[in-house]
Symmetry: C3
Subunit: 310 residues, 3 copies
């Protein structure tokens, strides 16, 4: 079963294949469609605009039928477990589920049990594999590869769903990763050196800002006012960046906090390009999970034969 | 107008025809599609995963266009009546509505007034005709028919939407129906004998468990802990069942309450098969309501001519 | 960019063209479809059944792919601005947005900035251009034109989204507009004379009732009980209307308040016809915004090239 819950589960070759598939989809070189009507459902237990809409567009571009699932109007409200919800969807004919959930590693108990592929669209402070892949695609498009690149990831490293997997995969791919941001949000288990942002902006090829998840923090704790001056990408710091360097941010952006308002759409910002790339990366991930290059996979739950042992 | 609000409104022959149509759809013998673009809307005023998603899949398998309707974002919030809501949908081109509503017999005042067919997807403690039909289909598939079968329905009989119509229709079809469960939940108007579950499991061909609707009851009243031992299908009771007997449950299941956790997906459980069958039964019901075998029906509301009497 | 936020922005010729396009779509003379897969999103920040469902049907009749957007499950909840939400949707491939918003003139800061067309589906007590167009279409169908017609608009003129634009456009088109209703709700800047309803019903060709937006008012302030007798269209007043005169109301109707219950679907009521017309008018507006007569427009956001200045 081709679940995708974490980029760490992929080999470097598998990552490269997914990026190549996304790029082919982007240029229209590949026109992948299932040979029979294929259903997916997006289960978002947390607010999201870009990830959810991006998956929706990706699904429709692949010719999939999207079955709406509103958490607030589902039997989850009656206490149904996530496992039973997924198997119910499988039993009525859904071929794959995309899930965002506030609980870290919600998927652990599911992977060996569910009968349809599961694509993780973000779990708590854990993983967000399609975000990682779209970040990698954006960097690859800009620089042709990863070897020798310097990437600085800035901000709330401890609660980020992308810092660790981006750092690990970029390192495997040959880049050097640096970290910056408030001490309270550091995570010493991350694979890279902590640096001062004022210096890092000068030598980094990519300055990757992380979102302060205001909705997850006690707002009083870290005065947002001081964050921009101390840890944010100010107009002054942007001027120190190399001519060819780019700015990335997973969005939604807190304008004037992680990044100066006027830089969000500046020439070196790739923030909206990341969103574009998200569609193609998700198409590639869905095509892999559903084996669309083979015409689609059998839903064993929906087509199960029910016979009593004789 | 081919509304479907209760199985009691159908003759035995009509039930058999619907089951046959569902079975043909299941085997792909019939490929029914409307000849012109046809719209349906699912109005769910109560939480539901399987019924709503099952209708959604059924609708798309029939090539229908589903217009999303979120109760919380509708003019129902402005006090619009259900009649006006349905007629509004008809006027913008919706050809049929599927409705789940917490109020018993919500449809009574609508049937002779609305201009498009209405399919009842559950009303309060009243009817749930597509659930009844899918239960019948599951039994028919297993035993080839109903004549001489013994079916025991267990649990919260008083608040069940399927106990009465299942019992009535099974009796008409030649089966004998028994009931079991707590005294407080008995309903003496039901057509069948009350029996002890410990005995019934030995001779029943079908043990049909009902869901305790925890969200409708005062939880303190019937200690859920004792329910399983006294009235639930325990592992011990399951061992007493005949080799060919099956277990059914409309789901969502309260695991460890109505049925032991490990029995939900055991060999004789048809719980997930019921869900599969739901899709084909709903396709048959929708095809009947929309007269899809004739290419679809005219929406008189949307195509109405507006002329002043001369 | 062919936004549509207010009918006041349209010339009389543009209005006539839109009405003609709607009429052609109604009679099936025009079959407009995009040449490539085209996405729209409906952002409804206020409750709505008919406008939202009407746009949904219109979009599907044009062969557009509708990306669901639930406000309550979106990043708007994380404080994202409307501008960033729209640009995000554009970046993932959405080609146009339809927006209803409780804030007057929410669109002002957006028009020169967003990269995809915006269709206003109602802002606060401001504009509702597709409602205005469907009202005009309904009148034109009935009387063949507007020259010399007498139209009386009755009710909560101050909070109405259609009174002003209807009055202005009807006047430009050659009709005479009168107003009636409680003094507290008058708006002296409206272009027309205030009249007594008992007289106006005798000479008006169109009696256009406005909805009392109970959800926007302090219910105590204007006793709804007395409204019907004093300012509503009672059965008695209806009897005074000319044989050829019609009744209009944007709906949802407060039955027994603005209009007697038994008149809602009477022979001279065009209330449900207005809803039908809404679909065709919205098809025409969407086709114009997306330039579907030219096969669809390029989404510059989604197809943007990202190059650093050399």
């Amino acid at each position: 079963m081709e679940h995708l819950v974490s980029v760490s589960d992929l080999t470097v070759d598998e990552v490269k294949e997914l990026l190549q598939a996304a790029e082919q989809l982007r240029f229209g070189d590949q026109h992948i469609r299932p040979t029979t009507q294929t259903f997916v459902a997006n289960l978002f237990f947390e607010a999201s605009t870009r990830t959810k809409c991006s998956f929706e567009v990706a699904e429709r571009k692949l010719g999939l039928d999207v079955i709406p699932f509103e958490v607030s109007a589902s039997s989850v409200q009656k206490g149904e477990t996530l496992y039973d919800t997924i198997e119910t969807l499988a039993a009525v004919g859904v071929n794959a589920v995309v899930i965002r959930h506030p609980q870290d590693r919600y998927y652990e108990e599911l992977l060996n049990k569910v009968s349809i592929p599961l694509i993780n669209a973000g779990d708590g402070c854990g993983q967000h594999p399609t975000q990682c892949l779209l970040d990698l695609l954006t960097i690859q498009q800009e620089f042709g590869g990863f070897e020798g690149l310097k990437v600085t990831i800035v901000g709330d490293l401890r609660h980020s769903r992308v810092a660790r997997s981006n750092a690990e995969m970029l390192t495997k791919l040959g880049a050097t990763v640096y970290f910056s941001g408030p001490k309270e949000w550091r995570d010493d288990s991350l694979p890279g050196e902590y640096v001062e942002l004022d210096e890092a902006v000068k030598y980094s090829d990519v300055v990757m800002l992380l979102r302060i998840q205001l909705e997850r923090h006690d707002r009083g704790q870290h005065a947002v006012d001081h964050y921009h001056e101390r840890y944010g990408l100010t107009v002054k710091r942007e001027r120190l960046m190399k001519k060819s360097s780019i700015i990335m941010h997973p969005a939604p952006v807190n304008r004037g906090v992680e990044i100066a308002d006027e830089l969000v759409e500046c020439e070196r910002s790739r923030i909206f390009k990341q969103m574009q790339n998200g569609v193609y990366v998700r198409m590639a991930v869905l095509a892999r999970a559903l084996q669309l290059h083979k015409g689609g996979m059998n839903n064993v739950a929906f087509n199960q034969e029910w016979l009593m042992a004789k």
